[in-house]
């Protein structure tokens, strides 16, 4: 589904990504962790073309992201993205947030888009909030609307960029539950998170990044118990306190 080969990226002289290689198969959930500034978010943003990269190749569903002739807008309809700070459109209700792209990009009728949106809101557990504005929703509710907004485009891949980092502890679970459901439902997912409970439960692969490199990867809980790299151990000790 996603193939990343020798991906490198610089901001000016500063190299943010160094020779990243990764393959993600359909239906897999990959968890990416690592200290801040290690390039995790940048990696996600290279996959859906929000950021250009200088070297290497990213191929999503057979389409090369770095290719000049690639229609990035079309590509992004296949890749949902959920942000740390939700980024809902503040001037629209939850329902309007969700229906905007299906109506404008997929040319769905209002009725069709709203029916789908209501179905998604039921799925994330807040159908009663459909006509509320984001400012009236809690963080956890906003993030669930944001997930529904991405799902409304029926993407093949979902990317999450620290989706629970801006949430109060009691709201983290409601968002993680939605993500766990998605993962178990067969969605291909890349999740930047430090929620190791989530990683334990659904991750097919866990990647640890530092200074723009993947320095450790594992498929299950063994990764947490005996990391090969001292840098990983140091980091895991911190987040697993």
């Amino acid at each position: 589904m996603i193939e990343i080969r020798d991906l490198s990226k610089w901001y000016g002289d500063f190299q943010v990504l160094r020779n990243i290689n990764e393959e993600i198969k359909q239906g897999q959930t990959v968890v990416v962790c690592g200290p801040s500034g290690s390039g995790k978010s940048t990696l996600l943003r290279c996959i859906n073309g929000l950021e250009p990269f200088q070297e290497g190749e990213v191929i999503v569903d057979g389409v090369s992201v770095g290719d000049r002739s690639t229609n990035l807008y079309k590509l992004r309809t296949e890749i949902g993205m959920v942000f740390q700070r939700f980024e809902l459109y503040p001037h629209m209700t939850a329902l309007q947030n969700i229906t905007l792209a299906p109506m404008k990009v997929r040319n769905k009728s209002k009725k069709e888009a709203e029916d789908k949106a209501m179905e998604l809101l039921r799925r994330v557990g807040i159908p009663e909030k459909a006509h509320e504005y984001p400012a009236n929703l809690s963080g956890g509710q906003q993030q669930r609307v944001a997930i529904a907004r991405s799902l409304a485009m029926e993407p093949k891949i979902m990317m999450f960029d620290e989706p629970t980092s801006a949430l109060d502890p009691e709201m983290i679970k409601e968002v993680l539950d939605v993500m766990i459901d998605l993962s178990k439902g067969g969605m291909t997912m890349i999740v930047v998170t430090h929620e190791m409970g989530f990683a334990r439960e659904v991750a097919d692969e866990i990647i640890f990044m530092d200074e723009g490199k993947i320095i450790e990867r594992g498929t299950d809980i063994s990764f947490f118990k005996n990391p090969k790299n001292p840098r990983t151990k140091e980091f895991l000790d911190k987040i697993l306190l």
Binding site: Y89, A101, V105, P134
Partner: protein
């Protein structure tokens, strides 16, 4: 009362010219092209650091030297106001644009919206809602500032009242009337403006 009409006319022209020019100034201030950004920024900083009364004064007395013939006070005042207010409206526009988070724009892109769609459905609506209260406030300020045009002898409301006062010597009644009229008109506008702000706090 004729003076009040001039004040209203001056305000209207100042806003009709100042807001469109302000939009251009605002766009210049967020432009990435250096040859646009620097001259516009220079203009904004220059004008915003000069008191309005000096801009009016200067324009009235310097332009005739450049053009070669004296200007009427009214067009001269209108142009001074447009030049002055455009910088303020431009800054309001810039601030409104910059208040839209980059993340909201990216959220638009990440669902497959194009640049034009993102600008049309996300950037512009959010920016306008954030800008409206300060736009209205600035319009009220413009309206009040029109009195300053008296320095070039424009018979606007306050100036006209002074003339009448010189004849009739009823300062308290006359200026009291002027103050009340300003108070009423400004109060109405600020009530309108506050309604927008309340809406904004509710999350639009």
């Amino acid at each position: 009362m004729g003076g009040f009409w001039i004040t209203v006319k001056l305000t209207s022209f100042a806003l009709l010219g100042g807001i469109p020019l302000g939009i251009l100034v605002g766009l210049g201030r967020i432009s990435k092209k250096k040859w646009v950004y620097y001259p516009v920024t220079f203009y904004v900083n220059l004008i915003r650091n000069i008191p309005l009364i000096l801009v009016i004064f200067w324009f009235y007395f310097v332009m005739p030297i450049i053009v070669g013939r004296p200007l009427d006070p009214f067009p001269s005042a209108v142009i001074s106001f447009i030049i002055f207010e455009a910088t303020y409206f431009g800054e309001i526009l810039r601030a409104g644009y910059q208040s839209v988070s980059k993340g909201q724009i990216e959220a638009g892109y990440s669902t497959g919206l194009t640049y034009v769609q993102t600008t049309r459905y996300i950037l512009i609506p959010i920016a306008i809602r954030r800008m409206l209260p300060s736009m209205i406030t600035q319009s009220i300020v413009t309206y009040q500032d029109t009195c300053l045009a008296f320095v070039i002898g424009l018979p606007e409301f306050v100036r006209r009242t002074t003339i009448v006062d010189n004849i009739e010597v009823r300062s308290i009644q006359l200026f009291g009337f002027v103050a009340i009229l300003f108070l009423i008109t400004c109060y109405i506008s600020s009530v309108v403006s506050r309604r927008f702000e309340v809406k904004r706090e509710r999350g639009y």
